[in-house]
């Protein structure tokens, strides 16, 4: 009989939890640590053409900033626009987006806020790509870079921060812009990088907008069930029956899977292109849908990850709840997830693994530094109950990559256990923006820390909605949130100019 390994989620900006379900009693074991981006998201080149004008350039980076090993350099791609920059004489600011785990063009396209506000600030805009993603791969190709633990070894957050600092220093010199203030932006993991930049490289920038940045999702800083509770609540708030249908569906899937021809029936019910190999693969496919839906639960239609209606969870629950009487649970679930996987109606059938052969950089990061404990609570979560088990994470990481995670490293390097004190004493000019619908908000900073380290929390916001391009459908609170952010950034720059003037007047 043995155990099946079930992919419970592969999420865009979210968690990839791979769960082991035994046939006798369901015992769940987390395989991978969380993932923010679905494997195939932000890694292809088939997304829409850029809406914003920029040049693409490359900067030769050291592979290891913290040793003097004789390693090959690699070209870090960055997108740059000086179209609206008022230049060094007028101390035009530099808006610098901390690239996260994907193709930087995709992030540039989905971070309209930075492009839209640049003209009013007279700002240069720079979108550097994170090492090992997109075109910024060491060793000549993604294939070589992702070959094994030896080549992946330098894919760490600290190296990425050093890349940013070296690039900024070089750009400033090349543009004679040494005195131009740099403002950092980042969403999700990129938001974590932006916030950490403020703590680790305070001399490099004047402030950071860290949107949906779960810098506290480590060790025991926040309860491990937080993420799935928030996803679950996003469904519960739309409809308690919907929440319950989903909560019941897992047992239904497991028991169906155990019957004769059960996997074939599930394959048919969920309209899968290939025959289902294990119920776990279906778990994973559904978990992905729910968790990503919670992240992109925007109040207007979007096609950030998938083409979706506004308030997509409302739409999912409408379909789950609204199916004709007599529809069984699994058919209802299928109707629901169709909103996520097939809102355009173009899909003929569904492939469960969206990137069967690719290796995910984030999986490596989750197996090394980004060890984010996640549980699913029997009472409050609509997902199968699961208790976080570091031992199995460690084993899986060893099997997958031949690497041992360092679960305490992030808090040793960046702090976290008493982050309020650290941010209060040592941080300044950081906006932690979060929408409470976003499951990652639970691991983020949700309180004002000081006069200049502030938290902007929106009840109805989802994953870094503030960074997205503005739309005609933006609700009032979103317009206001962005106005507040602009005012805060203006404040940082004006403080900087005043200090600068005071120094040059001396």
């Amino acid at each position: 009989m043995g155990e099946h390994k079930l992919n419970l989620s592969t999420l865009v900006f979210s968690v990839a939890v791979i769960i082991v379900v035994s046939h006798s009693a369901r015992s769940l074991a987390l395989k991978h640590s969380p993932r923010f981006l679905r494997k195939s998201a932000a890694t292809g080149t088939d997304f829409a053409p850029p809406q914003f004008y920029y040049e693409t350039r490359y900067f030769q980076q050291r592979l290891d900033h913290f040793s003097f090993s004789d390693l090959p350099t690699f070209p870090q791609r960055y997108l740059i626009s000086t179209e609206h920059w008022v230049g060094p004489q007028r101390l035009g600011p530099i808006f610098f987006y901390c690239g996260n785990e994907g193709d930087i063009e995709w992030f540039a396209q989905n971070t309209g806020f930075v492009w839209e506000i640049a003209p009013r600030f007279g700002a240069m805009v720079v979108f550097p790509e994170h090492r090992y993603y997109g075109e910024s791969t060491p060793f000549g190709s993604a294939k070589e870079a992702y070959k094994d633990a030896t080549t992946l070894s330098y894919l760490t957050a600290e190296q990425a921060l050093a890349d940013f600092s070296v690039l900024i220093t070089d750009l400033k010199q090349n543009f004679s812009a040494n005195d131009c203030p740099v403002v950092l932006f980042g969403g999700s993991y990129g938001g974590m990088l932006a916030a950490w930049m403020r703590l680790k490289y305070p001399h490099i920038a004047v402030g950071a907008l860290a949107s949906s940045a779960p810098i506290l999702q480590f060790e025991d800083i926040v309860p491990p069930e937080t993420f799935y509770n928030i996803v679950s609540n996003s469904f519960k708030r739309e409809s308690f029956t919907c929440f319950n249908y989903i909560k019941q569906s897992w047992n239904e899937i497991t028991s169906t899977g155990q019957t004769y021809n059960g996997l074939e029936r599930l394959t048919k019910t969920f309209n899968l292109c290939q025959k289902l190999k294990s119920t776990g693969d279906l778990y994973d496919w559904l978990d992905s849908a729910y968790s990503y839906l919670a992240m992109v639960n925007y109040p207007y239609p979007s096609d950030f990850l998938m083409t979706l209606p506004g308030h997509p969870i409302r739409e999912v629950c409408k379909r789950i709840d609204g199916a004709p009487a007599g529809t069984n649970i699994l058919e209802r679930i299928y109707e629901g997830v169709n909103v996520y996987y097939n809102y355009t109606g173009k899909e003929k059938c569904f492939e469960l693994d969206d990137d069967p052969h690719g290796m995910s950089g984030w999986d490596w990061q989750a197996c090394t530094e980004m060890v984010m404990p996640m549980s699913s609570n029997q009472d409050s979560s609509m997902f199968p109950p699961y208790e976080y088990n570091y031992t199995s994470v460690k084993e899986e990481c060893w099997n997958d990559f031949g690497v041992k995670p360092r679960p305490k490293w992030i808090t040793t390097e960046f702090g976290g256990h008493d982050i309020h004190t650290t941010l209060k004493k040592f941080g300044s000019n950081i906006i932690f923006s979060n929408g409470l619908l976003d499951p990652w908000s639970g691991g983020s900073v949700l309180q004002n820390i000081s006069e200049s380290v502030v938290s902007l929390v929106t009840e109805e916001g989802a994953h870094h909605i503030d960074l997205r391009p503005s739309t005609q459908n933006d609700p009032r609170w979103l317009v206001e949130q962005r106005e507040t952010e602009i005012k805060l950034i203006e404040g940082w720059i004006s403080d900087y100019h005043q200090k600068n003037k005071a120094v040059s007047d001396m």
Copy 2:
């Protein structure tokens, strides 16, 4: 004719400047960047037995904290005393000395201040050794660790800081001392590490006493002639004629060296054990003496580096100036440097190179990160004029180690160009203590930055005299300086306790 390469200095806590003198016109070229410690200092085991009680332990450290390369770990030695520690219940502080470039037992012995104040604070005392020094060598032995650029590669300040942070985190856990405040201490390069720890790892400790820490001795932050000007002034303030004898002596050495049998005559005049190979070796030997004398120009007898009288430069100049009429310049110089090299009178003759076969870790650090520009100014310095030339530094480093320096890295990583702003906004609880007689004081922070980032400057102090064991001859200003330091440290700890209490009362 070609050029001779002259070792102008090999200094304990000071500069190693290797100078190229052409026979026609003296053109000087800096070879190595500065060195704080004489090669043989703090690397042997022949110094006095420890005065303070401690245990010696070892902690397995990663060789590269910032990558996941499969490298061997290495045992980091640390000395630890819990003799006076009041324990975790009473939140007994942890006094943590940031080990610098040498054997940690030597530093422990020469940092009496920490040991002496520990009982009154009920503090644990920890002296961790800096990687690649003393017994804390990777790859099984110093020979292997120092083999080439590949093995030396991980000898960097950032790795050392990460070692400290990981060790502190581990110690806190093992002693159930998570809430115990850590106070950092460090002198010279160790002081730089202590100060940088406050900027890079603010969550790890509550404050740092950074004594004689020249964190500004990089790029063009301070004028490159600062160091040698301060050494020169230390001689000039004792006697202008003495200063002038020394200033004239270099030409005298060069011209003597060029004559028939000149090197033999110099060998005899300076009582050297082996025949002088080039005048440059003599330059180096003399430069070392002067620069180290300036650093250890303490007001009481000491045997920190050498057995010396109190006010040793006064004594040197007394001998140079006081030689009988008719004594020539070089004989005067010889009489003078005898104070440094042979105050005990035990030396029969002098070896110029104190560590002919050893490799110096600091030379590696100076050839990679610690690129500290140094010049000697024609007018104000008593040393041969020399203009800093990065190109030759680069060439020499390539020849010596096969490594390319990164002269801008330290300021990119730690800041420096606008350190006042950085320290004011992001630093707290740092004491920068400096004695103005110390040539390294010129590259240090000499002004109060904020209420909690303060500068303690003593007119008559030399290189981190405040960290030394107290003596019965301590002048009033030194006693007062240490009292001020103790009060400031008490303040950090009491602030920490208050904050801690406020949190636990909530």
